[in-house]
Subunit: 186 residues, 2 copies
Amino acid sequence: MDKLRQHIERIVALTDEEFAFIARHFSSRKYKKHQYIIQEGDEVKYHYFILKGLTKLVYTDDTAKEHIVSFAMEDWWESDFLAFYTQTKATMALICLEDTEVLCLNLEDYKKLCDGLQKMERFILEKANFGFLGAQRRIISLLTSNAKERYEQLIKLYPNLVQRVPKAQLAAYLGVSRETLSRLNQ
Amino acid sequence: MDKLRQHIERIVALTDEEFAFIARHFSSRKYKKHQYIIQEGDEVKYHYFILKGLTKLVYTDDTAKEHIVSFAMEDWWESDFLAFYTQTKATMALICLEDTEVLCLNLEDYKKLCDGLQKMERFILEKANFGFLGAQRRIISLLTSNAKERYEQLIKLYPNLVQRVPKAQLAAYLGVSRETLSRLNQ
DNA sequence: TGATAATCATGAGGTAGGTCAACGCCGTAT
DNA sequence: ATACGGCGTTGACCTACCTCATGATTATCA
């Protein structure tokens, strides 16, 4: 839980009472490598804060090809956010690439936290804004750059992520085949 | 201004006093077709609410090729949000595709509105979340679909937008050449 | 009204990246 | 020790899309 507090306090300062109030809304869970946190078609009950580990958010197209919408690791928030936020069925799967520990926040508590503590709403807004900006950067990368450039941008932006993730998975994130990714360093 | 009130009240109800407080933070401006609202390298003073008209947010790559990061029309918010939010120089241009009227909100007032009226922060958070989800949908489209599929998805999602925007501009949004887009209907 | 610029379509040829298939190198479980 | 699955590489071939060039049609505006 201390990790969560530090994470929030990077954006808004908290009193002990405030953090106690926040902490009350989270539950914790552990998953093993290869386990599914969310499966396509599930109800998505939680937004997850990752304490430890590494996950991929996967969209599977109609030819059964897997596309990685995002990776998430320590201190990141992750979910099938559309399904979570609009209370619809998951269209993506959330899968562990390593053993993973998360804190879970359900939608009701997400709203209660926003209502009950303006600092928390501020924090969540800040996260939402930067989440949007990250997605926009990715769109620009996809629009403007070829496979090699996108790979280099990824290495620059998340050098430690690239260490931890198999190349085939990076390829599925970058939107290229693993063969193409493998040929880039020549 | 009435348009703004209706727009906000689709998400949170407001009293007259509350809306008066909100309205006080906005100024209004008009631009002609082809005019730049933001130029690359500018300071970005405002986040814009579009009352009327149509704009494109353009990223120009190092080969001088233009990529359209987003379109915005009536009731949409637009800016080079990274530059606005982090008070850095614009890396994108915001250009009118039609005569356009906007309401302008500077960063200081954006923060004051969040601080001064929790309803407004709620509203902005809701917008931020859906902005993120829209960007994520676009990423999935770029990762999973070919030119024709992406074009069809765009038509389905924003049929009226497609009417108003020249095909060459749609191509720059979809990430294909205008020639390719022109050949799709065969 | 005539000139100029957008807009759209189409042909020809080139290329980045996809697909399919084979192979080598681990790590780990039997 | 051996077998097997995950992971990465490489070759051969194919295709979706790009680029360059031309021309037709339609707005726009002096």
